[in-house]
């Protein structure tokens, strides 16, 4: 195995082939919600709809609970999970507010003030210090 240097970036998942493989059915479920008729079927009966996607029980539970970070930890990719969020009326910025644990208002305020600075956010060791 090649060493994944990008695993040293804190608070970040790089969606590589290993993650893509792990999250395949989860991500295929999420993208199905791109279409109105599928959104309607899902919203009408989540459990029956989820039965057609052979994801793991953990992934399925994370979908049901809308645990946005766990979805990424289990192989989801943000562009896919954002389709589930959009179905729930959550846009990219509000989703980020939730994933960071800051809450929507504090996150929006941070962005208005220039975003999260790069200083102190480059490596895992920088996060471990804090």
């Amino acid at each position: 195995m090649t060493k994944k240097e990008y695993n040293d970036i804190p608070g970040t998942f790089v969606f590589d082939a290993d993650r893509s493989r792990e999250g395949y059915h989860l991500n295929q479920f999420c993208i199905s919600l791109r279409l109105q008729e599928n959104r309607e079927a899902f919203n009408n009966d989540e459990h029956t709809y989820l039965d057609s996607y052979p994801m793991t029980p953990e992934q399925r539970e994370a979908v049901v609970k809308r645990d946005w970070n766990l979805l990424l930890e289990l192989g989801g990719n943000i562009y896919y999970t954002a389709k589930l969020a959009a179905n729930d009326g959550i846009n990219f910025q509000d989703l980020a507010g939730r994933m960071t644990g800051m809450g929507v208002d504090a996150y929006r305020e941070m962005m208005l003030n220039g975003g999260r600075p790069i200083q102190g956010n480059r490596t895992n060791s920088e996060w471990e210090k804090n």
Binding site: E5, Y6, I9, P10, G11, T12, F13, V14, F15, D16, A17, S20, G23, Y24, N27, Q28, C30, I31, L33, R34, L35, Q36, R39, N69, L72, N77, I78, Y79, Y80, A82, K83, A86, N87, N91, F92, Q93, L95, A96, M99, T100, G101, Y107, M110, M111, L112, G114, G115, R116, P117, I118, N121, R122, T123
Partner: protein, 283 residues
């Protein structure tokens, strides 16, 4: 002969499209974003390209996880704006110069770039937002002023193509366009970026100093820019900042020496640093 006269680098933040589609461009939050495109719209009117060769990425819209081509060229007659989960954008259908697109596909493959050819494809905000910011409000019943040849690049699943590969593809695109026997004015767009991270606990990362240096390199030293590593994009500009590899296709299609006629940079648009540059080929 067809010729590439200029390149445009431009972010393609979906919220910018939403702001235009819902009439919010004059609100305090959005005004500085759109003010920076006033000059661009005047420039587009004067430049009046026949064709826009538009390099962008699909955001899990036309492509799901079942098929992930690194480079795909739109060869269909037209491309409908897609429903990305919140309804299709109210903008015109994008029309192709199909004959030229087929010529480019053939030329690129013989030039050893192994493309995927798309004879049916819907397009998402990655393609329509740059058209909207550069042309202004154009309703679904009107037409885009130029034909558009889309080149879609995978930047969702790691690894995207390297900056160097994109830069060399840009050179091959230029050879293809310049060997097309019709007098056409082509402008090439490289879209995406700039620094942003949409996901997980580091979401919201912005690195303005890095972005500014990247814009400087676009103008002054495209070869150095094309050598920026994937790790540097991911670490310094956020996991989604790696979209900037697509700018190198645009830059590779221009002369090594160009004239920067406009630049715009603003933080934030939603989660993202908006960056924009117009580079003219010196004739």
């Amino acid at each position: 002969m067809a010729r590439i006269t200029a390149g445009v680098g431009c972010s393609h933040v979906p919220a910018i499209g939403v702001a235009m589609d819902t009439g919010k461009t004059h609100e305090a939050y959005w005004k500085p974003v759109f003010d920076g495109f006033k000059k661009s719209r005047e420039w587009m009117e004067k430049q009046n390209p026949d064709i826009i060769f538009l390099v962008y990425n699909d955001h899990c819209t036309a492509f799901d996880a079942s098929c992930i081509p690194t480079f795909s060229l739109g060869c269909a007659a037209e491309f409908k704006p897609a429903d990305e989960g919140w309804g299709p954008r109210p903008v015109p259908i994008v029309k192709n110069h199909q004959k030229m697109a087929s010529h480019i596909a053939q030329s690129l493959i013989l030039d050893e770039f192994d493309l995927t050819i798309m004879n049916e494809m819907e397009v998402d905000h990655g393609l329509t937002v740059p058209l909207s910011v550069m042309y202004g409000d154009i309703g679904p019943k009107d037409e885009w002023p130029a034909l558009v040849i889309p080149l879609c690049v995978n930047v969702v699943q790691y690894p995207p193509p390297t900056g160097n590969r994109c830069y060399n593809l840009g050179k091959a695109v230029r050879r293809a366009i310049e060997s097309y026997d019709e007098d056409l004015n082509v402008v090439i767009f490289g879209t995406g970026g700039m620094s942003h991270q949409l996901q997980y606990k580091r979401a919201g990362l912005i690195n303005s100093e890095w972005d500014t240096n990247f814009l400087n390199l676009m103008t002054e030293d495209p070869v150095a820019a094309s050598k920026i590593s994937h790790l540097e994009y991911l670490r310094e500009t956020g996991s989604e900042g790696i979209e900037m590899v697509m700018w190198h296709v645009m830059r590779g299609a221009l002369n090594e020496e160009v004239t920067e006629v406009h630049r715009h940079y603003h933080v934030p648009a939603s989660n993202t640093a908006v960056g924009h540059i117009i580079l003219e080929n010196n004739i």
